[in-house]
Amino acid sequence: MTMQETTSAAAGAKVFPGSDSRRYNYFEPKGRKATHYEDVTVDVQPDPERYLLQNWIISFGDGTPTYSKDWTALKCTDWHGYRAPDQEWERTHYQRQSTIVGMIQNVVENARRAGAPQRFDKAWVAVLQNHVGAFKHAEYGLGTALMRAQRYGYTQMVNNAILTNASYKLRFAQDLTLYLAEVGSDIGNFDLDAGKAHWLDDPIWQPCREAVEHIRAATDFLEQYFAVNLVFEPLVGELFRSGFVMQVAAAQNDFSTPSVISAAEADYERNLANAVELFALLLRDPVHGEDNRTMLQSWFSHHGGLAVKAALQLQPLWSLPRVKAANFVEAFERARGRVAAIGREIGIDADLPALPPVEVGQAAASAAVTAAVNGTAAE
């Protein structure tokens, strides 16, 4: 060619218009500078209201485009303003998931090598087999609901936050499944099918299954995301994981189960932060905030009622271990406080009535369910 060629193709080899334009320049970073997460995430799912000149070019049979704002009842003046606080992209996601897998594997291997499962208290073994075994299905149900939900968000930031949430939930459901299979083989006579049988038929678990099935059946993807992280998790998920298993297990000679469970608690902290950030943004919306509040309040009323019913029905579990290291009333109080604090964080009323000051039992539980469903949260 007649024009002058340069010998190196490295940055800085030549100065010319645009030669120093080395940042993605088509979006507003949330902070002073774009984070790596923002660079690899923002605008990858395009929007006709931003740069998509020719609009979506395929539609569903009914005319709905590839992505639609109508897939949720919630509205937002700028869906692109959302950033997930955990800033996950592929590399950080695999690093974190892989670290968790390694941690669990080490704990389980060491416990088994030390013969720990054989020393679990017999009553506790039954809890693991029947009830931790049942709870793994709840985790799986939430994971599949989120896997569906990640299709529908209007931006990449929303969808990827839901996708990683699904990934964490489905991993944890498998963690529990494989953990029980492994320690079960050391214990002997451990019925690996019992957990599912309890999940499907044990009255203790039926309200929980009902709550999960309602989340799975919700057609609004943000209702699913909300119900998982802002309702079910604090009221049932944490109640069972932290309020029961993690507090009680050590006293039954079981140090490994709390370690396995702890991974889900850490996962939830991140998923909760992501969800709170999104719903707080939607409630702060200058145009749609109030309508969004009404909608979230109605979702809370629906799913909160189901979750409280599920939580209260689990109460007999606290009586099963031989050593009573925790009690249900305190655990439920913490869950009640937790969900109320989450509600305050985003701006909805999530105060649930306290358990009646009587000896906790079926009657009290029923009263609390009624109060929760018809009480302050059910406005």
Partner: protein, 554 residues
């Protein structure tokens, strides 16, 4: 230590086998009894048989494996910088990465979204882990590719075009072709989109040219980053191919599905050919400086990967299940590459509209001519003069080649694939819902008029997608001055006047075209012009168009 005793034997524990683990994990699912789940994703297919997971993987082995793959990728990128890769890389190649990497993250993430569909549609839970892994894989691919692009932007001599990448993706006439590919993964009939178009055709057949053949060419041009990232991506594809095949086997069991399968395999194969071969064929053949005559041409690669590997060993065996396979389409696709110069004509089109790009295309040289002639005899007669003209008109102040007196006829665009109708003799038109459309071939016409419709061969197909949007870029900018359209798209460098696109690889400011150099020329939509013609004029125009053109030397 006694003979035969090893540390592993001392510490080994009885575990559960992979088959048992996969079975246990699949047993996590149940049939809801309190609330019936509404099927959110429409399909006209019936699926009653639960697909089986042939890979039998669980997530606890998946995450560490992926992390290790990532470590290798990112380690290699660091090593490439330490080895000063960009000092020796071919700019001709990296420029095309501005286009390729603007497009590909969107199809990837679309594939992630489409796993929602398959996860819900597939009966049972056996394949759920496979779909879950694929969902996370696609999230991986999308963000790892965005990272690679950022890395090029930070380290390659000319970052312009990388810096506007996702905005450019929304504006460019060429990226819309890629969007037709990506949107097809997740819109319309769920099985058509996510199983047949994405998994059975795009992933099983065409990722071989996308993610295997292209990285080889990258390495030949001194780019070690693209192979590192994309071969890692391709290593995930085998899982997706397994998912797709298993789902297909489940769909096949229902004889009622066979007609739809015939439709969808036909549409998907042809459109993948039109889109992927246009883009990747051009990048491999025209983005390279490596002209070793012993290396395979795109036509040869296609024959190996698509014809031999896919058509003969994957598509053909479907016939034994009663699925009609359109052999003539496969042969026609191959002929379009080897006999009808499809890839060369697309490259010619990309260069004809260079000013609307956000990457640079340099002229082919004598060395390139020789290689093309040896691989595609007769190439020089048809394309040599074009590229000589292109070189001549690459200096700022020349007439943009689109408007020079070369004899080139700006092509109509295919309403189905959105690729220009470059094989002139195959050009066809038809009316759908009372409106006139243009198509690159008969299969494209069939795709729009018959496949993407509410009824197929008398059978209602309400779930099937529809073509929508402002599909033709030329229509959007019809009547605009070139300079105004370029400015509107934002394909201008930070000085506010120099074009991002250049018809050469000179990095001297004096050689670079500005808005003023292209002002005074008007964009016209061939389709709008065609619609305005009388039936007689239109007939004459179509006949003339089909005759093609001969390039004159300027």
């Amino acid at each position: 230590m006694p003979d035969g005793l090893t540390l592993n034997k001392i510490t080994s524990q009885k575990g559960i086998g992979i088959t048992e683990a996969a079975r246990r994990v699949a047993d996590l699912g149940w049939t809801p009894s309190y609330v019936k789940e509404a099927m959110s994703f429409p399909t006209d297919y019936k699926i009653s048989k639960a697909p089986r997971d042939p890979m039998k993987q669980v997530l606890r082995s998946y995450f560490p494996m992926q992390e290790e793959k990532d470590n290798r990728v990112y380690g290699a990128l660091d090593a490439a910088l330490r080895g000063d890769m960009f000092r020796n890389v071919e700019p001709r190649w990296i420029e095309w990465m501005k286009l390729f990497l603007a497009i590909i993250p969107f199809p990837e993430i679309s594939a992630a979204r489409s796993m929602a569909t398959l996860g819900q549609l597939a009966p049972g839970d056996d394949l759920r882990t496979g779909f879950t892994m694929q969902m996370i894989d696609e999230f991986r691919h999308s963000t790892i590719q965005m990272n690679l692009k950022k890395w090029y932007m930070e380290n390659y001599i000319d970052p312009a075009g990388f810096d506007i990448t996702e905005k450019a993706f929304g504006k460019c006439y060429a990226t819309t072709i890629g969007r037709q590919f990506g949107e097809a993964f997740l819109t319309g009939d769920a099985i058509t989109a996510s199983n047949i178009y994405l998994q059975v055709v795009a992933e099983t057949a065409f990722t071989n040219t996308l993610f295997v053949a292209m990285p080889s060419e990258a390495a030949r041009n001194g780019d070690y980053a693209l192979p590192t990232v994309f071969l890692s991506v391709q290593s995930d594809e085998s899982r997706h191919i397994g998912n797709g095949h298993s789902m297909l086997m489940s769909v096949l069991k229902e004889p009622d599905n066979h007609l739809l399968l015939e439709r969808d395999i036909r549409y998907s194969f042809w459109q993948n050919h039109m889109i992927v071969d246009a883009a990747i064929g051009t990048i491999i053949e025209y983005g390279t400086k490596h002209r070793d005559k012993n290396k395979e041409s795109y036509a040869e690669l296609w024959h190996r990967w698509i014809f031999e590997d896919y058509y003969r060993t994957y598509m053909l065996p479907l016939e034994k299940y009663g699925i009609k396979i359109h052999h003539d389409d496969v042969h026609e696709a191959f002929d379009s590459i080897v006999k009808k110069n499809y890839v060369h004509k697309i490259a010619q089109f990309f260069s004809a509209g260079w000013w609307a790009n956000f990457w640079r295309i340099e002229a082919m040289t004598e060395r390139d001519f020789e290689w093309f002639e040896s691989k595609y005899p007769g190439w020089y007669d048809e394309f040599g003069v074009w590229w000589e003209n292109y070189a001549k008109l690459s200096k700022p102040g020349s007439v943009p080649i689109t408007f020079a007196d070369t004899g080139y006829v700006y092509p109509h665009r295919c309403w189905s694939s959105l690729v220009p109708c470059v094989i002139r003799e195959d050009f066809t038109i038809d009316e759908v819902d009372g409106e006139l459309f243009t198509y690159a071939s008969e299969v494209d016409r069939w795709t729009h008029k018959e496949a993407f419709a509410a009824e197929y061969q008398g059978r209602p197909t309400p779930a099937m997608g529809r073509f929508s949007g402002r599909r033709q870029w030329e229509e959007v900018y019809d009547g605009w001055d070139l300079a105004d359209a370029i400015q509107d798209m934002g394909f201008v460098r930070p000085d506010g006047k120099t074009l991002v696109a250049q018809p050469h690889l000179s990095f001297e400011e004096k050689d670079m075209w500005t808005l003023d150099h292209v002002r005074g020329h008007t964009i016209r939509s061939p389709l709008l012009a065609l619609r305005e013609m009388t039936p007689q004029q239109r007939q004459a125009h179509v006949e003339e168009y089909r005759k093609g053109f001969k390039i004159r030397r300027v």
